[in-house]
């Protein structure tokens, strides 16, 4: 399989991740397109023989961070920095039972970790490499993301995490 064919074959997977990450179809495809274009310009950074899909996720992560940063100059993807989607549902947390809305309510940094692990089946190590963060950060973001989604899906609201003994 040449890399061109691999790249085409990976589009559906990039689209799936992007859809879960940004929610709306056109915006998600925009992100995929930007990712593919950026991948070409950053080709010299790809180490041949390494996992192309993981590398493309890294490229997509960087593109996404830059877009979010451009949209809200002070936000970036800080853990406790809510995105627009969260603000929209915060006051209405009791109604958030739908999976997509629960995912959208997560801070982007937590959402990325949850989706790479739970949806894309990356290992914790791979996730840490893709996002350029320590594995301990992967685990803490994953734990917070899952607790938050669980709470939202149960209609308990996101602010009160269950007490873990």
């Amino acid at each position: 399989m040449s890399d061109v064919v691999s790249l085409i074959a990976l589009i559906p997977r990039l689209r799936r991740y992007a859809r879960a990450l940004v929610g709306e179809r056109a915006a998600a495809d925009d992100l995929v397109q930007d990712t593919l274009e950026r991948a070409w310009s950053k080709l010299h950074l790809y180490r041949h023989g390494t996992d192309l899909r993981a590398w493309l996720f890294t490229v997509m992560h960087n593109v996404h961070v830059n877009q979010v940063r451009a949209a809200r100059p002070t936000a970036a993807l800080e853990d406790d920095m809510p995105e627009l989607a969260q603000r929209a549902v915060q006051g209405d947390a009791l109604l958030v039972r739908d999976l997509e809305r629960a995912i959208a309510a997560l801070p982007a940094a937590q959402r990325e970790v949850l989706l790479l692990v739970a949806l894309e089946d990356l290992s914790y190590d791979e996730t840490a490499r893709v996002l350029g963060i320590p594995i301990g950060t992967v685990m803490s973001r994953l734990a917070r993301a899952r607790e938050k989604v669980r709470a939202l899906m149960q209609g308990k609201g996101g602010s009160k995490l269950q007490v873990v003994k």
Partner: protein, 260 residues
Amino acid sequence: MSEAQNHIGETDLHAWADGCLAEGRRVEVEAWLAAHPEDAERAAAYRTLNEQLRAHFEPVLDEPVPERLEHAALRRRRWSVAAAVAGWLALGVTIGGVAGWQLHARYAPVPLARTETPVLARRAALAHATYAPEVRHPVEVGADQEQHLVAWLSKRLGGDVRAPRLDAEGMTLVGGRLLPRDPGPVAQFMYQSAPGRRVTLYVRTEGPDQRETAFRFAREGNVRVFYWIDRKFGYALSSADLEREELLRLANEIYRQLNP
């Protein structure tokens, strides 16, 4: 409670939910969960969330890929050479400018923009490249429902579509799918040999003004395509695994079966 069980932590619950614990540890964690219902409930909820996420977003994999994304992926065709060069450079191997340029000149495929490949062959190659590597969803309807598959595709294409039998050639029908465009609907049949080599047959309705053609050969990336127009249908047989001669033999066999 054993010594090991005292060390079951948060990470273990997540690793259990994600199915990435080594066997021995998994047994220990499950013993812990059996004794700690709250943790068990939490870990089960995490695992359920994984399943819900996959079920919810799985359909995206089967959506037709927008053309603009295919173009973005194919925009430059020197990917493999450039990546290989990048890899060598990463290993500290110095490539002389002349040698590098010769390599480029020899292996760089024809740029997409000035390729002569007609739409039929190009789309067939793209569809092949998209679905042939699929492990879990290579087809929409499997060969075990062949009658249904053929009836369904015939109805959607508005003509008598048939799935040629290639078992004598060592290729077994995997199944088929409908590709919604180009500009009418398109059928794709997938065949696979025992060693896992795949070919796809792309079938689309041609307009009445299309003349019949002989077999023609095209190449997109490393996908080889034989395509032809026969009565109301255009056909394209694609493979990245088969050599040109093998592919031509299959194309001949398909043509023979469709024109008894």
